[in-house]
């Protein structure tokens, strides 16, 4: 009975569109076009958050089990513009506002998923997910395993990491490393309009809890997004730019900083290969290994803290397999073990950007094994 409720989406829903993804240029804060290099993605030009809205609308239209919930999503501007007006088309039974009550409401989402629906629960910031940790860590991530495989929780939780403008310690945490520690939760961190549509549709179609963690700094991009529904498989990163000297692996907004760094490095004669991880659980370790085998050097640029985070995990995975092939120690550009400060002078010292990646990449290039 329940199995039927979780039947796979129609075939066209899980079709990957195009072999490549747009190469997105970004200069944080400004709206930039992602189409000037890659020409083979045809579609309407839209911003990142419009692509999120496009995916949500299509999922709502396709499958009546899908619904979207969150505090303030039916506000005039919607959640970052990504939910604007959805309730007008789909009704307030399927697109609805929620109280804060993050623990209880996350449980409501988990229970609805258990009952055969496919909720998408939106939060402004991952910091609020700390109030929902019981449901995420003790319940949603455990039920399928604990039931011997008969209690799937097809749930998507979206939260947007903040940065800058004095957002400070409780409104700018990048917590993916912490969630990555827990078995049973998938985590996606898309960076382009094309990727976010494909990955979000895959997340909604997936039968497991999926955390969709993106970053406020990538919301301003524009790019071509196909009108048809398509999905991008989890566990598949993407090589944004081929290179031979050093692998730079970017996560979330740092993948965009890595692209900026690449240009600067090229002018210094360093040919960097740029990887965008896109999903961090499952992790595309094969893409990383293949690249590092070629370059012999790895720099991980993360939006999260260094201590016990994803950069530590990936470093270890690489050392376990390529210890003798590395020409330099794995370099990490990540946050210091400090809560996010508010003052902009401190923010500047706290956050990393393309210049930090360039500096660390050059340092790595100077290492000789």
């Amino acid at each position: 009975m329940q199995k039927k409720a979780h039947a796979p989406m129609p075939v066209h829903y899980v079709k990957e569109c195009g072999a490549k993804v747009p190469w997105t240029r970004v200069d944080s804060g400004e709206m930039l076009d992602s189409d000037h290099i890659l020409k083979d993605i045809k579609g309407q030009k839209m911003t990142y958050t419009e692509a999120v809205r496009n995916a949500l609308a299509q999922a709502l239209r396709l499958d009546e089990k899908v619904f979207v919930m969150g505090q303030g999503i039916n506000d005039e501007v919607g959640m970052f513009g990504a939910t604007t007006g959805l309730y007008k088309e789909f009704g307030e039974d399927r697109v609805f506002d929620t109280p804060l009550a993050e623990t209880g409401v996350t449980g409501v989402a988990v229970g609805a998923a258990m009952g055969g629906m496919r909720p998408v629960y939106c939060h402004n910031r991952p910091d609020f997910l700390m109030l929902a940790m019981d449901q995420l860590v003790n319940h949603a991530s455990k039920y399928n395993y604990m039931s011997g495989g008969i209690c799937p929780i097809p749930l998507v939780i979206w939260a947007v990491t903040g940065q800058g403008w004095g957002s400070a310690a409780q409104h700018s945490q990048a917590l993916h490393g912490m969630f990555m520690h827990v078995p049973g939760i998938k985590i996606i961190m898309p960076t382009t309009p094309y990727d976010v549509k494909g990955l979000l549709l895959q997340a909604i179609a997936d039968n497991n809890p999926v955390l969709f963690l993106d970053h406020r700094r990538i919301h301003n991009q524009v790019g071509s997004v196909p009108e048809e529904m398509y999905t991008i498989p989890f566990g598949k990163g993407v090589v944004r730019k081929q290179g031979k000297d050093i692998t730079i692996l970017g996560i979330s907004s740092m993948a965009l900083e890595a692209l900026r760094a690449e240009e600067a490095l090229r002018s210094k004669g360093i040919d960097a290969e740029i990887l965008d991880l896109r999903t961090i659980k499952p992790l595309d370790i094969e893409m990383i290994i293949t690249s590092v085998k070629k370059t012999g050097r790895l720099l991980i640029a993360d939006t999260g803290w260094k201590t016990g985070g994803i950069s530590a995990e990936i470093s270890t995975l690489v050392y376990e397999r390529l210890y003798r092939e590395l020409k330099a120690p794995v370099a990490r550009v990540s946050l210091p073990d400090v809560p996010t400060p508010a003052a902009y002078t401190l923010e500047e010292a706290y956050y990393n950007n393309a210049a930090d990646i360039v500096r660390e990449a050059e340092k790595s290039m100077r290492s000789v094994s």
Partner: protein
Amino acid sequence: MENMLLKLYYSMKRIRMVENYIADHYNGEVREMRTPIHLCDGQEGIAAGVCGNLHRQDTVFGNHRSHGHYLAKGGDLKKMVAELHNRETGCCRGRGGSMHLIDRENGVALTSSIVAGNVSIAVGYALAQKMKKTDTISVVFFGDGASEEGSVYESICYAKINRLPVLFVCENNLYSISTPFCVREPNADIGSKFETILPVASVDGNDVLTVYEKTREITEHIRNGEGPWFLECKTYRYRNHHNTGNGVDNRFRTTEELDLWKAKCPIMKLERKLSAEGLLENAEIERIEDEIQKEIEAAFSYAKESACPDAGTLCEGVWS
């Protein structure tokens, strides 16, 4: 009604005998049930009385002490006993243990040992049923301890404002493990904490007929789309929070208190009523006990003859 009284009696008796059988075999020389058990004897009137009003398609949500909820709702005894024995044939294929029971076909959602978490999940399940336009209801059992959690308040508010078909059943057995209410909260009257939000009823959980009749009235309201209800059932567990002792070796529970509650045994109470009304003869009681005993022994044999999960299957089921 006569038939219903006998059904309630049978349901309670079966739970009691299962719990006693588990207790008798839990601490033997060969400890085959390697899972923390939380027995519910003394509280059978609530599971039987509430579930006696539910349809197969209705769903119950339980906690760490849910053998009774599972059985009263129609969960498969053999699969439960196999789960307690860590067997592949268990209701959770040996992945859940005593505190995590499931029988989706019979409307037992996965029970949770993180108490209160199941309360909001039951509300979400009811939301899904409402969206799918089914006429089923969700019932969640939780204890006085769980009622202290903030998410219970959140869940109750959410259910009420959305008029969801949920029955909140608080089994107030006076102790959170061994800590009495008086040192936990300023207001020991649980129902009064919620009565400004939704309709609350408070009943003697050791009187199965009262529980049954009150639940019948409440579930009619809920099925009519009138929104959620809160039912507090006052009761007492005969044993320790965990394991098989009688729980009087702690600081607050006393032998006198236990004896007082044992005199209010829900099964004895109904048995006396049925006997007095000539509805239950001693011979019939013996026949019922014999029948249940055979069912339990068959379930234990089934469990013991089943294989434990193969180590090679360790990673199965993390993802759906």
